[in-house]
Amino acid sequence: MTDDKLREELSRQGILATTFAELYNWGRKNSIWPLQFGLACCAIEMISASMARFDISRFGAEVFRPSPRQADLMIVAGTVTKKMAPQVVRLYDQMPEPKYVIAMGACAISGGPFKQGYNVLKGIDRYIPVDVHIPGCPPRPEALLDALMFLQDKIERQPLTGPGRPRHLDVSAPSEFPVPAFGAHDLVPTKNPALWQEPPLTRQD
C-alpha cells in the first residue's frame, strides 16, 4: 500500500485499507507498558506524567507494570549509581522482547551533575541500548510524553522484515546484555564495548 492518495480517497468512502505491518505496529505503539520503578528525583516527574494532569494514559502507556516480565518499556528515571547499575541491567534482561529504553534526565544519560563523582554511572547507555535520551534536570512531564511519542513514531516506522526490524523478529539479535560485576575499585567491565565507545577527543589545549 504505497499509494497514499488512493488510500485517503478510500478512507473517505468508508473503506479502511491497511497492511499487516501497519496494524501490528499500530497495536504495539499504543500499548507501551512501562516498568514501574524510579531511581531518583526524575521519578517524581515520571509519576506526575502518569497522573491526571499530564495523563500518560492518553498514549496507552499508563499501565505501569510491577514485573519486568510484563513490561515493554524501561524508563530509567534518575541517577544510576554504580551500586544500582547491575540491578538495572538485570531488570532489563528480564524484560521480554520487544523492549525499549528511555533514559530520562541528565543523570541517566550522562551522569549529570554527578559525572565527576566516583560512585555514579556516567550514562546507562554504557550497559543497555537506549532508544530515546531526554535531557533535563529533571525533564518536564511534557518532555517524557514527547519522548514517548518519539518512541511511538519509531515503533510505527519499524519494518517487520529486513534490516531495522525489531529485535524480537531477529533471531541473531541479542536480547540480554551482560550484567556488570562489582569490582574492587569500579564496576567490571566499566562499559559494554559493543554498545558504547568513548567518543574521540580532538581538543588539543
Binding site: N119, K122, A184, H185, E198
Partner: protein, 211 residues
C-alpha cells in the same frame, strides 16, 4: 550546662585515667570540641549520656575527618650570636603534622535542652591502626553513621556489631572520602574541560594530539 573547661575536669574525675583535650575552633562558628582518648572513649560517652546534669541522650550526627600528614613551615625568631653580636634571626622550621583519622560526634540533650557538644576520637594513624571504640552501644543512632564512616574513611569501630559497608558495595576496597583516594578513570566527555577535569581529559587524547 557547664563550660568545656568545667566539663573536662568533671569528666576526668568521673572517668579515672581519661585524657581529655579541648580542641579550639578558630572559625566564626567558634565551636570548640572535646578530644577524648581512644581507651576511655566509651566510658566517657556513657557518662555524658547517663549523668543527671548532662544527659546527652541524642547523638544527632557522627562523621569522619581525614587528616593526612602535612608539612608546615613555621618562621621562628631566635636570638643568636652572629659575629660576636646578638641578633634576631628568623629561621624556617619544617614540621610534620601527625596523620590520623577522626570521628566527630555531635551530641544534644533532649531532656535538658542543651547542646551541641562536639566530641572527637582519633585513630593512631591512617594506615594500619585505625580502630576506635564504637559509640553505637551508647547511642543507637550512631549505627548507620558509623557504618558510613567505616565505608568512606575506613575507621574500624570496635563493638559495633554490624560493621559493613553501607553506601558502596561489599567488594569495594577503597575509602573514597580519604584525601589520597584516586577515583576510577571512567572517562566521560566534557565539552569544556578545565583544571583537574582537563588533566584527566588529556589522558584520553589520541597519541598524535598529545605529541
Amino acid at each position: 550546662m557547664q563550660t568545656l573547661e568545667q566539663l573536662k575536669v568533671r569528666l576526668e574525675t568521673a572517668v579515672p585515667g581519661a585524657r581529655i583535650e579541648i580542641v579550639p575552633n578558630g572559625s566564626p562558628a567558634n565551636q570548640p570540641s572535646l578530644l577524648i582518648d581512644r581507651e576511655h572513649g566509651r566510658a566517657v560517652a556513657k557518662f555524658l549520656r547517663d549523668d543527671s546534669d548532662l544527659r546527652f541522650d541524642y547523638a544527632s550526627n557522627a562523621t569522619g575527618v581525614d587528616w593526612p600528614e602535612k608539612t608546615i613551615k613555621e618562621k621562628i625568631k631566635t636570638r643568636k650570636i652572629v659575629d660576636g653580636v646578638e641578633k634576631e634571626v628568623e629561621e624556617v622550621v619544617e614540621k610534620k603534622t601527625a596523620a590520623y583519622l577522626e570521628a566527630v560526634y555531635h551530641l544534644y540533650s533532649m531532656a535538658l535542652g542543651h547542646g551541641p557538644l562536639v566530641i572527637r576520637l582519633r585513630t593512631e594513624n591512617r594506615s594500619d591502626k585505625v580502630t576506635l571504640p564504637s559509640l553505637t552501644p551508647i547511642w543507637r543512632s550512631c549505627e548507620f553513621q558509623e557504618r558510613e564512616i567505616f565505608d568512606l574513611f575506613g575507621i574500624v569501630f570496635e563493638g559495633h556489631g554490624d560493621l559493613r559497608r553501607i553506601l558502596m558495595w561489599d567488594e569495594f576496597t577503597d575509602h573514597p572520602m580519604r584525601k589520597d583516594y584516586v577515583d576510577p578513570d571512567d572517562y566521560e566527555y566534557e565539552p569544556t574541560p578545565h583544571d583537574r577535569v582537563l588533566e584527566r581529559a588529556r589522558l584520553h587524547y589520541p597519541p598524535e594530539a598529545t605529541a
